[in-house]
């Protein structure tokens, strides 16, 4: 049996996937990233290698690394851009999906996928934390809640209190003020989700990605955000069968499989 690996080193989480020759996922993992990207990659890879009974990366036919920045996995056979890997990961999971909104720890991307899983176009905001995972962490902190509890809060809201601040820092101040004024927490949460959804809409439009869309990255598990995006985009967001946070690593592993099988 041949094994193919993909490792996606993110700012918050590192993910790794191992596939067989047929593209079936044999092992996957998600760990919190350390400050040293290579160390994070080695730890994640060791976990998935252990799960399939392999001793080291050398036993993989091909390993591809990815993540924000370049050469995040220096011991990989190759490093490919995370945008390409996300697109491929979603394509092998559900070939009908044509577009992705990827909300990571520190950036937001809109990606349009071509028929073969490659990238047709993309737009990204990596200059500002507004609308990223960092933004949600700051908001959950203001609410004194876990991210998981915060993500469900807006689903109960009957109204939306709009958040006017564009900047994460100012938005946090605005939210604290609203909470202090005794405004309904679920309605404030709905305002926060809506603010992010509007930014995602802009990213998606920029990339020409508005048809048959899905979410990837950690924030894809935020039910409140998914609900807000559906309201803003006026289309149903496709749920993926595989953990959306794994798409980057899955795409990297799929590229590894294609290159390894072609060799």
């Amino acid at each position: 049996m041949k094994y193919f690996g993909g490792c996606d080193v993110g700012s918050t989480y590192t993910k790794a996937v191992i596939l067989d020759e047929n593209g079936k996922i044999l092992a996957d993992t998600t760990i919190k990233s350390k400050i040293n990207a290579e160390e994070s990659a080695r730890i994640a890879m060791k976990e998935v290698l252990d799960k399939v009974g392999l001793k080291s990366e050398k036993e993989l036919e091909y390993l591809i690394g990815t993540g924000y920045g370049r050469n995040k996995v220096p011991f990989a056979d190759e490093n490919i851009s995370e945008i390409s890997c996300h697109a491929m990961g979603v394509h092998v999971t559900n070939p009908n999906v044509k577009a992705i909104i990827d909300i990571g720890g520190q950036d937001v991307k809109g990606i349009a996928i071509d028929t073969d899983g490659t990238v047709k176009n993309f737009a990204m905001n990596d200059k500002c934390a507004a609308g990223t995972g960092r933004f949600f962490e700051a908001m959950a902190r203001s609410f004194e809640m876990s991210l998981s509890d915060f993500s469900k809060l807006s689903l109960q809201a009957k109204n939306v209190i709009p958040i006017s601040a564009q900047c994460t820092v100012f938005a946090e101040s605005e939210v604290i003020t609203l909470v202090g004024e005794g405004k309904a927490m679920d309605e404030i949460a709905a305002g926060i989700e809506m603010a992010v959804a509007k930014r995602c809409f802009v990213m998606a439009k920029k990339a020409g990605a508005t048809d048959s869309i899905t979410l990837t990255g950690g924030c894809a598990k935020n039910d409140g955000l998914k609900d807000a995006i559906e309201k803003v985009l006026k289309i149903k967001v496709v749920d993926l069968d595989t953990d959306p946070q794994l798409m980057g690593a899955l795409g990297a592993a799929e590229y590894a499989r294609q290159k390894g099988m072609a060799a």
């Binding site: 851009s81 945008i83 176009n121 020409g208």
Partner: protein, 515 residues
């Protein structure tokens, strides 16, 4: 390394510091030629520096320290060039360097704090950096001098972080940080009193945009306190409309009268038309280079076109015969290379239109596009200016011509005047120049262009053009460093086009400190 184009891994010359390891070896002939030009530049710089008023200016104004890197600026814009393309570059840069040296020499001679030559000062009209200089074309005994050009525009060309101190100064006064750095830097220079004071009068202009009114206002107050009267040419925004042309012409008449009243000199039509004939020839020659760029063998492209076109169109405007002579030599060199089908880089992969306003701290981005990815920057927005030939004998028409020139100053002719000149014209140029790609400079502090972002995306999709957005902050490299600019292209080339660079050593460079 050697004579052949692409024979050196250009990225290996970077050290992470201010200077490169060594200069390029371009083969015997081209290296000796470049060496000869370097000797010329060093001699020219020394010639001016030894003059007492010039030395005084050098020691007085902090922005003058950037000028020690003039040879490095020429090196970075000639990177990778060989043969006639190298000669074309030197024709341009060496001449512009000397012209700027002359500007500084005149400025410091007249400056109250340096040479204090009052007689000379009375013959000077102070102009903005972002203003057509053609108003001087009818005054044979007067000089139009822009200290802003030297202190801000050229300074940043030489050293990317040249004006960050001035930006900090004006922001300490309360100016927000997201304002265009160009007028902000001008204003900062003014509040720190770090500019030479001279001139019989000043003629400012509202080009490129409202940002210039900010800087102009602060400087006008300073000038008037020093006894230098100021006139503002208010060039209309909607320059494509017939209805504003009379107003534009009247502004020119008013400016001419103002200069006449302040200096005692009279407008001379013979002198004006003599300059106009040269200006028309310069423009014809430049169009011929751009016409060559429609073919498979473009010759005068990228930085060789962009920086030079800005200088001749806006600042020289036909007044300096040396420039027309240089243009004729450049045309001859370009024609020779075109007939021999000579290429600038080993592989041509994409033909690009460069749109938007360049990052002033990274004008050598265009040579990088060529050398790293084989993307040919055929023409740029700042070179696609007023096309018509001006009248060479009709004084009445000439006033309207000047009015039109002032409205259609570089950048201004596209960022104002409606969406057609900014948005729709781009796709026509893509077709005209057979371009498959647009590199769109997105100056994040520019309110004129950012509002059109979505429309650009839609149109690019309709026309099937690869649109690559490149973010920058004009004169503040702290906001978006050069590697981020390169990464905008690197990411697109690898992710969407799945290409590998022609020269991989250029993909990632440690050049934040580089001159």
């Amino acid at each position: 390394m050697g004579k052949a184009i692409g024979s050196e891994r250009l990225g290996d010359l970077y050290t992470g510091g201010k200077v490169k390891k060594r200069r390029e070896w371009r083969g015997v002939e081209d290296t000796l030629y470049d060496y000869k030009c370097w000797l010329g530049i060093m001699g020219m710089l020394a010639k001016y520096l030894v003059r007492p008023h010039f030395l005084k200016g050098f020691l007085r104004y902090r922005w003058m320290l950037n000028y020690i890197s003039v040879p490095a600026m020429i090196d970075k814009h000639t990177v990778g060039l060989r043969g006639n393309h190298l000669k074309i570059a030197h024709e341009e840069y060496d001449l512009v360097a000397e012209d700027v040296a002359k500007l500084l020499d005149t400025a410091f001679k007249a400056d109250r704090y340096c040479g204090n030559d009052e007689e000379l000062s009375k013959k000077i009209v102070v102009l903005d950096e972002n203003e057509m200089f053609a108003i001087m074309n009818g005054f044979p005994t007067l000089k139009g001098i822009s200290w802003e050009t030297a202190a801000v525009y050229v300074a940043v060309l030489l050293q990317g972080d040249a004006v960050t101190g001035y930006l900090d100064a004006i922001q300490e006064m309360g100016l927000p940080g997201d304002v265009c750095p160009m007028p902000a830097a001008e204003a900062g220079t003014a509040v720190l009193d770090d500019f030479p004071l001279f001139g019989a009068c000043a003629v400012q202009c509202n080009t490129t945009c409202d940002g210039s009114l900010l800087g102009n206002g602060i400087m006008a107050r300073r000038y008037e306190k020093a006894g230098i009267p100021v006139f503002q040419i208010a060039a209309p925004l909607r320059h494509t409309e017939e209805g504003v042309q009379e107003y534009a012409a009247q502004e020119i008449r008013n400016a001419i009268k103002f200069i006449e009243d302040c200096t005692g000199e009279k407008w001379d039509w013979d002198y004006y038309f003599e300059n106009t004939k040269r200006y028309n020839e310069e423009n014809r020659l430049r169009y011929s280079w751009m016409e060559m760029s429609r073919t498979d063998y473009p010759q005068v492209i990228g930085a060789n076109l962009a920086l030079y076109a800005e200088t001749t169109y806006m600042a020289i405007a036909g007044r300096v015969p040396d420039f027309v002579e240089a243009d004729r030599r450049i045309t001859k060199l370009a024609q020779e290379s075109f007939e021999r089908k000579e290429m600038l880089v080993p592989e041509y992969r994409h033909r690009a239109i460069i749109w938007g306003v360049q990052a002033q701290y990274y004008t050598d981005f265009l040579p990088w596009l060529q050398n790293c990815w084989g993307i040919l920057p055929l023409v740029d927005m700042l070179s696609l200016v007023y096309w018509d030939q001006l009248s060479e004998d009709d004084p009445e028409q000439a006033i309207y011509d000047l009015g039109k020139l002032y409205q259609e100053m570089i950048m201004r002719n596209r960022t104002h005047g409606g969406w057609e000149v900014l948005l729709d014209d781009l796709w026509r140029f893509c077709e005209y120049y057979r371009a498959d790609m647009v590199i769109l400079w997105e100056h994040i502090s520019c309110k004129a262009l950012t509002g059109m972002h979505g429309l650009f995306e839609e149109r690019a999709k309709e026309h099937g053009i690869k649109l690559v957005w490149v973010n920058h902050d004009l004169m503040d490299p702290r906001v978006i460093p050069k590697q981020n600019i390169r990464d905008d292209v690197n990411r697109y080339m690898r992710t969407v086009l799945m290409e590998e660079p022609i020269d991989p050593s250029l993909e990632v460079l440690d050049d934040d400190k580089l001159w």
